[in-house]
């Protein structure tokens, strides 16, 4: 038996299209008032603390805005406000560690971060001497990472091209995807041992060289490059491939000049992510690239210092022995300055990648 039910009418109290509306500045004012109330209360009790005030202030604000909005604007608007509050709080929560990290690195690193630090090696530096820098480590990191990129980008991109353009449903394609996934999970120390084992075959036991570090990093980079490039290539609409085929363009030229070109911006970003992923790797480089105090520009000969290893090395040396001209905390200071350098390198690379991506991205404007 079917009966037609009239739906229960909603918000009978406010017919028409208008409803009560809080002034735009209300949330801000309420937030400030909440902070002031909580802060004032704690100050009166004589136990003021910033984190607690912020925390309780936001909770108070959430309750107050919920109540006020319910009365003035209605239940739906109140839920909207509550969701907005939660969203902003979650965002703040996520940003706090990031900002705090950057702040700490800047605060500790800026003291030693200067032209001298960037252009001097640690050769002949010992104890608490007010000398030494990370020049050798910076060059090492740049060279090793660049070589790792040179190895992994062609391999990774070609794999991605195979997966997307030639074997999306083939057995080989599925197998490759599986192994790429497995590779993503390889611990970095294992990659280091692998590179060591590989180079021992050619150079004998005890081998240490920058190129081995690059191979270890490439092992970690390749799956990231494959995954990122694969997603980017999949985004290229099939219509563009067909448009090129229909003009009598062979498949390989279509891939090179249409697919890769259209995806270029995304590919650059993907490679950048992969670089950022490996540039801070310490363990594998400690194993195969080694530790050294002076600059070595030859990837294929001898140990090579890198920034993460430099940070680790300085930090493990701990406090310097006290003495007349000795700076006791110098090792820690150098570690922080090197950490800052590493972060800056990643930022600069990111910036360059963004610029390149902007140049390559498809134009849409009129």
């Amino acid at each position: 038996m079917a009966t037609v039910q009239t739906p229960p009418s909603v918000e009978l109290s406010s017919p028409g299209l208008t409803r009560g509306k809080l002034p735009r500045y209300a949330p801000v004012v309420l937030l400030v008032l909440s902070f002031a109330a909580v802060g004032g209360l704690f100050a009166a009790l004589g136990s003021f603390s910033v984190p607690l005030t912020v925390f309780l202030g936001i909770i108070l604000y959430a309750v107050v805005i919920l109540v006020v909005t319910t009365f003035v604007e209605g239940a739906r608007a109140a839920r909207d406000r509550l969701a907005t509050t939660l969203m902003y709080s979650a965002f703040g929560l996520a940003v706090v560690p990031l900002v705090s990290l950057l702040w700490t690195v800047l605060e500790n690193g800026l003291e030693r971060f200067n032209g001298y630090f960037l252009t001097t090696t640690m050769r002949g530096v010992f104890g608490g001497m007010d000398a030494g820098g990370a020049y050798h480590a910076i060059m090492g990191t740049l060279e090793i990472t660049a070589f790792a990129t040179v190895i992994s980008v062609p391999i990774g991109m070609l794999t991605a091209i195979y997966l997307v353009e030639y074997g999306p449903k083939s057995k080989l394609g599925r197998g490759i995807t599986f192994f790429v996934d497995v590779m993503t999970g390889i611990p970095s120390i294992v990659a280091g041992l692998f590179a060591y084992a590989l180079f021992v075959l050619f150079f004998g036991p005890g081998v240490r060289m920058g190129a081995a570090g690059s191979v270890a990093l490439a092992v970690l980079m390749i799956p990231v490059v494959v995954r990122a490039s694969e997603e980017m290539l999949k985004l290229v609409p099939n219509e563009l491939r067909e448009a090129a085929y229909a003009l009598g363009v062979p498949k390989w030229l279509t891939i090179v000049k249409v697919v890769l070109r259209t995806a270029a911006a995304g590919l650059v970003t993907g490679v950048m992510l992969a670089i950022a992923r490996v540039i801070g790797e310490t363990a594998p480089l400690l194993i195969v690239a080694g530790v050294v105090d002076s600059a070595n520009f030859d990837l294929f000969e001898g140990r090579m210092m890198t920034l993460p290893v430099f940070v680790y090395g300085q930090y493990t040396q701990g406090l310097a022995p006290p003495g007349p001209d000795s700076i006791i905390t110098i090792n820690y200071d150098r570690a922080w300055a090197a950490a800052l350098t590493l972060i800056l390198i990643v930022m600069v690379l990111n910036l360059i990648a963004r610029i390149i991506a902007r140049i390559f991205s498809p134009k849409t404007g009129r």
């Binding site: 229909a246 003009l247 363009v249 030229l253 498809p362």
Partner: protein, 259 residues
Amino acid sequence: MAKRLDISDLNIYYGDFLAVEGVSMAVEPRAVTAFIGPSGCGKSTVLRSLNRMHEVIPGAYIEGKIALDGEDLYGRDVDPVRVRRSIGMVFQRPNPFPTMSIHANVIAGMKLNNQRMSKAQADEVVETSLRGANLWSEVKDRLNKPGSSLSGGQQQRLCIARAIAVQPDVLLMDEPCSALDPISTLAIEDLIGKLKQDYTIVIVTHNMQQAARVSDQTAFFNLAGVGQPGKLIEMDATEKIFSNPNQKATEDYISGRFG
């Protein structure tokens, strides 16, 4: 330029699925041939098999023979890339290359194939092709703007310019006007009328009036039911098909009694 196509006993498969069965027809040069029929009857499939775009889909293949001026398109030594160079295609949705300017889009067929051409040559091809596609006056002042900055109808004419820039023998068009407004549609129909002096044109359309307006020959396709292969029901001069078709099914379809 402008060659004839002879199709005999064409069966077209997607993997195990027989999509089109037993099509035989002749497509005359310097004329417009229209494919009409209900959705899913295989018009696009037949069209795409004419320039070997069908086999781009994994598992897809054909049986039978398609000849361009007597030369078997599916012969053993035939390079599909060369077939597509002489049989161009315009798609249902305009698809200019988003990374290229209007100018570069027109000569994409040469550029993507690494053909060397001087700036003057390139400019000349661009102008003739755009004039041929009735687009020149609208874009001549912004040839360096991206192709995607044009309106849908302009983009479709850009794609036609791109297709005729490589000087094919045959031009295939799969519902070229279905995404366009009546004015752009009219512009493209005019264009088709002009192009048929130089090219062999095959056009798929759902618009009966359009088929009647632009085509010389009309082929009606139909299918018995879902999962059944599509078949060519009849093909004849357009006036004949629209005034006095031989088959009952054709008349029913044209007069809107089904499909």
